[in-house]
Amino acid sequence: MLKTPIRSGAAALCAVALLTAYPPGPVHAQTSAALDLMNQSHLAYYYAGDGGQARVVMVLTDAQGKMRTREFWIARRDIADMGDQRYYTYFLKPADVARTAFLVHKKAQANDDRWLYIPTLDLVKRIAADDRRASFVGSDFTYEDISGRLPALDNHEIIGPDTAMGRSVTKVKSTPKDPKTADYAYRFTWVDDETNLPLKEEYIDKKGVAVRQFQIDSVETIEAIPTAVVRTMFNLETGRKTTISFTNVSYKTNLKADDFNERLLKNPPADFAR
């Protein structure tokens, strides 16, 4: 993540958007409403509940139809909405990475702290903060796609009502304030009018060509929270796609924020390891 003045500015903007009770002024009505909507969407997608856990199957399919599969448990605990989060990933498959665990202390204001546990060496390895645009475990999802990009990093503009995945949505155009923080020029998000989930996204490059497309294939209401249980990212340049399916979803994880530490890396919760 970037440690620039933009980010603290972004956080301030974000706080204002969340806390302000005043109606926005007429000049910025359009962008302020757009930022507000994107913040709501960000909360619905990345901060649902105060945390949770799920078993995840990730299928990577290349242009030739060749598939690779990753299976892992993921647990999350939020420190504050739109703020810091703790993430824990425990790998089950493929076999050569079984029992490997990955811990992230995601920070809204600074670089993430990351640790990897390599079971064959019993080694807890702190790893350098990687580029957030790097692929997550070789998939078409980036780290930023998995853990979220703060809406305040972008300028948002409501395009208007639309239909996506068979539902009524609001289409929003988002343009990164600092082009260096993204590998696309702008993106469109189709935000579900009822759940605020980002049902579809398109990433457009400098030439105006769509390079990646995201969609939520299936939504289930779990513990009263609308949850995107199947999600796909298409790489339109390479013909690759990655589908993530969530099972065993619960927003009632036993893991507290303080539990996301070395002990958890070495000792997965019993229901993850079985």
Binding site: K3, L60, R68, T69, K93, P94, A95, D96, A98, R99, A110, N111, D113, I118, T120, L121, D122, L123, V124, R126, I127, A128, A129, D130, D131, R133, A134, S135, V137, G138, S139, R240, D258, N261, E262, R263, N267, P268, A270, A273, R274
Partner: protein, 418 residues
């Protein structure tokens, strides 16, 4: 062997106790290492021993089960190597039971691997055993850590971790013995094969000859600090008897480490005092002097799927004057301060299915070096193919890498995991 059988039986009994559905895994692997030059010191061996440091088929089976508050794990290798006389061996690498006794106390009992410290292939406070023979002959990096029989207690108290690991006996490093790699014989003053390898006196298995490892760790902001302690023996046989054998002198050590992100860098530093208990004032030239060793390094992501790291490592001999005056005339002499620099670069390609990696040691004082390069390709989720090179060189035959200078090899591994 007897300990292995006992551990195997205990863990197997535990298997049936804690779970009805143990999870089975493992791999089958072919390892072939080939020398890049003739090694005349090994001329007494067979052709295969001279040409191939390793030529093996290895199968590994893992078995694990998890109960509500306990867990068992079993990992055993069956390896058949054409370059060794015994050919086949069973290697019980892990067999342990872990119990989560309370919210703040875990114990892990049995055969296990253990690693701590902040270094990347350099060590100061990690005095758990290492397998240098595996390290130099193309086995996976995971084989650098051989198992040890330990009782490891971990206490977690409000952000601070206290760990004590103890073993009733000493597990030395597995160092080359002149079969796969030629070695330096300090009594003959030259590099030799197994027939002329020096005799190493093992540490007797008695109560006072155990090992104890300790660690106290915590965090402060983004920084991680750790204190360490050890009581046992020098991990390699650096002591010499007057009758011409090598032995493991007693050692205790204490040290600390710090790991902290600095901007986009991840920085680490570690230091340890090694107290050579059998020769605390450094007068005995046959026993290694007490020393301070430590290192500092940084790691950084250079962009998407690129990582680079660099480290400076040093050993400082505490009684160098006495060491130097005690040496017999003509004996090899080491510098008071011995520096080594390391560098690493790792790049992932092709949707992270190809890993290209290079790691280099350059012994500034000892004028020796070791370069480890490899390319690993995950052909499918199950099949991994690695080719690599383990190149070693040096000006003097008695230094860490210099003694192995005629043992450079290239290797290939194909592993099918299940």
């Amino acid at each position: 062997m007897r300990t292995s059988v006992i551990l195997l039986v205990i863990t197997c009994v535990w298997v049936t106790r804690v779970t009805s559905q143990p999870i089975i895994g493992g791999f089958v692997e072919i390892n072939q290492a080939i020398r890049v030059e003739k090694n005349s010191a090994l001329g007494d061996g067979t052709l295969s021993a001279r040409s191939y440091p390793r030529s093996e088929v290895r199968a590994q089976m893992t078995l694990r089960g998890t109960g509500e508050r306990e867990e068992f794990f079993l990992r055993a290798d069956l390896a058949s190597d054409a370059t060794t006389a015994t050919r086949s061996m069973v290697d019980l690498r892990e067999a342990y039971i872990k119990m989560h006794l309370t919210d703040w106390l875990d114990i892990k009992l049995g055969r296990q691997v253990a690693t701590w410290g902040t270094g990347d292939f350099v060590f100061a406070n990690d005095l758990f055993a290492k397998d240098w023979e595996a390290f130099f002959t193309g086995l996976d990096d995971a084989y650098l850590k051989p198992p040890q029989d330990l009782l490891r207690t971990s206490v977690y108290l409000s952000g601070v971790t206290i760990e004590i690991a103890a073993s009733p006996y000493f597990t030395p490093d597995n160092i080359p013995d002149g079969r796969r790699l030629s070695i330096y014989n300090p009594f003959l003053g030259r590099v030799v094969g197994s027939s002329e390898a020096p005799t190493i006196l093992p540490v007797g298995k008695k109560l006072n000859n155990g090992e104890i490892f300790g660690r106290l760790a915590g965090t402060h902001g983004g920084a991680e600090w750790t204190l360490y302690g050890y009581r046992g023996f020098w991990p390699t046989p650096q002591g010499m008897t007057v009758s011409g054998e090598l032995f493991y002198p007693r050692l205790w050590s204490a040290g600390g480490s710090l790991q902290v992100p600095v901007g986009s860098f991840l920085a680490h530093a570690e230091a340890a005092a090694y107290v050579s208990q059998d020769d605390t004032d450094g007068r005995n030239p046959l026993i290694p002097n007490s020393q301070i060793r430590g290192f500092a390094g940084v790691e950084k992501s250079l962009g998407i799927d690129w990582t680079a790291g660099a480290q400076y490592y040093a050993e400082f001999m505490l009684d160098h004057d006495r060491y130097a005056t005690g040496l017999p005339a003509g004996a090899p002499t080491f510098d008071e301060l011995r520096s080594t620099v390391t560098g690493r670069i790792t790049k992932l390609l092709h949707n992270q299915t190809i890993i290209v990696s290079a790691f280099a040691y350059w012994g500034v004082s000892d004028e020796d070096w070791h370069l480890r390069t490899s390319v690993g390709y995950k052909i499918t989720d199950a099949i991994n193919w690695t080719v690599g090179a383990s190149l070693i060189g040096g000006n003097r035959p008695y230094t860490m890498f210099g003694q192995f200078r005629d043992n450079s090899n290239v290797y290939t591994r194909v592993r099918y995991s299940f």
